[in-house]
């Protein structure tokens, strides 16, 4: 089972990834595993416990499977206001 996804990077995650977004096919069974794979590849310091995950612009659950064609964002702790 492979899903084509686009991942968006913001704030410190983007600094480490050195790109704003990337698109690829993933076999990760859920969003948690997907983040752990990307963390290993890019060297993100933030552990999964400090992030939230969003799919197509709405908060999602870490145990959700990556949907084909979806836009995924890992949300570091926010600091607006």
């Amino acid at each position: 089972m492979s899903a084509h996804v686009t991942v968006l990077y913001f704030a410190s995650l983007r600094d480490f990834a050195e790109v704003e977004s990337e698109s690829f096919d993933t076999q990760a069974p859920d969003l948690r595993v997907l983040y752990l794979e990307l963390r290993a590849r890019h060297g993100f310091p933030l552990p999964v416990e400090r992030l939230r995950v969003a799919v197509d612009g709405a908060f999602a659950r870490w145990e959700d499977a990556p949907r084909d064609g979806s836009e995924i964002a890992f949300i570091p702790p926010v600091s607006g206001g």
Binding site: I75, S79, G80
Partner: protein, 139 residues
Amino acid sequence: MARFRLSEIPFDVAALRAELLDARVGGYASFEGWVRDHNDGRAVTGLRYEAYAAMAEAEGERILDEACSRFDILDARCVHRTGDLAIGELAVWVGVSAAHRDAAFAACRFVIDEVKSRVPIWKHERYAEGDAGWLHPSD
């Protein structure tokens, strides 16, 4: 019209406030966040806000909808800056109109607290010492 907006440029509070006033309004509460020259004991020279814009707008709108249903208010609005800001610049504005002040204060506080905890916007501070960094609060 959207109740929550992002703005890449400085915006005018007077015009936003005027949109909230009508004959039923008895109390208007507002909050503004300004860029201050220090944070956590460090001298700050300026900052940048970055947003996941589509999601920030959707989440901001949800917060204002929640405020309107939870509190006995007439309307609520919020605008948040993005991009580069200098010391003293307005970063965020919340305005709430109501018949009475209790609801106006409570809803205004609710909105700024939720915006700060839920809306995907990140602050990048530049320090007087020359370094800079993203703020990712632990709580």
